[in-house]
Amino acid sequence: MDFQLTEDQEALREGVRSFCDGRFSFDALRELEEKGAIDRELWGELAEMGVFSLRLPESEGGVGLGFADAVLVFAELGRRLVPGPLVWSQLLAGRIDGAADGEVVVGGLDLCGPVGGPLVVEHLDQLDALVVLRSDGVVRVDPRSLHAKPVARPLDPHTPIHHVATLPDGEPIGDAEDAARLRREGGALVAGQLLGIAEMTQELATEYARKREQFGRPIGGFQAVKHILADAFTRQELARAAVYAAGATLDDPEVGSAARAVSTAKLVAGEAAMKNSRACVQVHGGMGYTWEIPAHYYLKRTWVLENVFGTVDEHAEEMAEYVAADA
């Protein structure tokens, strides 16, 4: 057992981090906010870097890596709030032509959970393909065929949404097992993004607490503040262990139940992202409540990610079933 990053994995992480730091700075994000969340040129660069083709075999033009690597990449994308249906496009690369090289932007809708509630599709305007997961299978729908109404003010400024009245049957591209697998794999990648959010919000808050002075000293010197940050760091590291374990378990199911590892990762990383984003707002004080300080973007994106591939309540109930099965 060696539950640490390999040198290659560290290099992969550093590579993606420096790319994202360069392309998705807060200034760049503000520009995307004005002109639309998905910039096709940037999407192409993400594809070129292998974000979508990462897990495809080299014989199919991919990088031939596994989920343990993919979650690292998605944590970096989460750190920098890279917008767009990244997870769907990666999941469907190799199955929908053009997804791997970024020519085709694939979005999706996961309807495997409890029935009911409005049909809300992210980034619909920009999608070339839409995939729907249902408990009985996977279908592909032409996004342009939908009767959809844009929601003028989306919660996350980088995740525009449409309200769709009804979905057509679509063209079947997978069975029930495929749907369950894609949902599981998607959950792991989203958990990676949530880990990145938990990490970055902790770092932004800590950095601010070190510099900001009140009563003649840095606020990070007050236990009331530094203990918030210690808790944020602890949640982040718990999330890291859970997310890395989910990646490693998807790659090698003999070490445990992949479904259980993914539910664990999604729950723990989701809670870390949510609480750390809130802590980031709180530690920034009044400024944390402004549009200018990016804390709110993280909180809003977390809410988007908490609502895909199984909600908190769904995963918590699944975990309970696993415990009961062992009891």
């Binding site: 057992m1 203990h227 602890t234 859970a242 490693a248």
Partner: protein, 396 residues
């Protein structure tokens, strides 16, 4: 990144599991109540069995009679002893986790000879004389005095939270030898025999009503100079060699055991009835169990991550503080959920009807100590925010 135990780890597991399968039931149940001599006998006899089977001192070097197991074998060890519900380390705790390792690192050849082999064989029991009424989290503020008189230290003072003092042979004792030096620089580490005149032990009942804690009053106790470990006034450094052991994998079995507690709770909810349906049908309860299960799985993954990190760097990372912080609060939440599940049966500390309230209430109350002992949660948060996040330090 690889979560798979190696073939040799699995071989180690198979051997240990087979041994525990027979040895644990053969050793019987632990004594109940305050018969400390009986408790010592039970715990040390188990230690001797571990020793004879080659499983004592799992992380101790071979030259001191230990197993010198790899870090992953240690994890396997903690998993298996938890799974088998093997006896707890009990009265051997201080010797195996503090006293012994300190002597290995800092003791003279004679001191090693006198203590280490008897500790690992379960023949010598140690207690800890660190904390004082005025020196808790601020341990270096301790005021127990030791004055040199020829070839003895004359020691007077008041120690507290000393576990199993009644049955200990030796005490790892911190004393102030230089009252004029800055507080960290005037402390000395003594291996004090507990049969010296002038030592008075008064049990200090815990909120459980149990008496494994004592206060130890020292009045002109004459401790031979040869009992000093390391140099005079170098005791703080020596102490920090041992304190890091307490935050490593010491709680690993306990953490693994929590998963069993959660399964027990789930099984219990499956047979309890509320409003004519099983308690387990309650969705709110299931969700709470689900969250706890995820956190427990995650914390176990974090133990593996930290152990792998230590294997790579050679030193336990500061994230040990994160594990301790999270685990101790998690156990308290699990305790409270279990008490809620059994309803008014939780008003009894013995089993009520066919409900295991005795164990549930005991475990919930006992868990209150976890966020205080071995560095309180507040101290852990200071450590994390200062050593890892680089925030301004508290006064020392």
């Amino acid at each position: 990144m690889d979560l798979r135990y190696s073939e040799s780890d699995e071989k180690f597991r198979a051997g240990l599991r087979a041994w525990l399968r027979d040895a644990v039931p053969a050793h019987g149940d632990p004594p109940i109540g305050a018969d400390w001599a009986e408790r010592r006998e039970y715990d040390t006899a188990w230690q001797r069995k571990l020793y004879d089977a080659g499983y004592a001192g799992i992380n101790w070097p071979r030259e001191f009679g230990g197993r010198d197991a790899s870090l992953t074998e240690q994890l396997v060890y903690y998993e298996e002893v938890a799974r088998a519900r093997a006896p707890y380390v009990g009265v051997n705790f201080v010797g195996l986790l503090h006293g012994g390792p300190t002597l290995m690192a800092e003791g003279s050849p004679e001191q090693k000879e006198r203590h280490i082999a008897p500790i690992i064989r379960g023949e010598q029991v140690w207690c800890q004389g660190f904390s004082e009424p005025g020196a808790g989290s601020d341990l270096a503020a301790l005021s127990t005095r030791a004055e040199l008189d020829g070839d003895v230290y004359v020691v007077s003072g008041h120690k507290i939270w000393t576990s199993f003092a009644q049955v200990a042979d030796y005490c790892e004792l911190l004393v102030r030898t230089d009252p004029n030096a800055p507080k960290h620089r005037g402390i000395t580490w003594l291996a004090m025999p507990m049969d010296l005149p002038g030592i008075e032990i008064r049990p200090l009942p815990t909120l459980l009503g149990s008496g494994e804690f004592s206060e130890v009053f020292l009045e002109n106790v004459r401790v031979p100079v040869e009992c000093r470990v390391g140099a005079e006034n170098d005791g703080w450094r020596i102490t920090n060699v041992t304190l890091s052991f307490e935050r490593g994998t010491a709680f690993a079995s306990d953490m693994y055991q929590l998963q069993q507690s959660l399964r027990d709770l789930t099984a219990l909810a499956g047979r309890l009835t509320r409003d004519d349906v099983k308690a387990w049908e309650d969705r709110a309860l299931r969700r709470e169990v689900g969250h706890l299960a995820a956190e427990l799985d995650a914390i176990w993954a974090m133990v593996k991550y930290t152990v792998s990190e230590a294997g790579k760097t050679g030193v336990p990372g500061a994230t040990g503080s994160c594990i301790k912080l999270y685990y101790s609060e998690l156990k308290q939440r699990l305790g409270e959920l279990s008490m809620r599940l059994i309803g008014r049966a939780a008003l009894g500390r013995d089993d009520v009807g066919d409900l295991p309230s005795g164990e549930i209430v005991h475990s919930a109350l006992q868990s209150l100590s976890l966020t205080i002992a071995a560095g309180s949660s507040q101290i852990q948060r200071n450590i994390i925010s200062e050593r890892i996040l680089g925030l301004p330090r508290e006064p020392r």
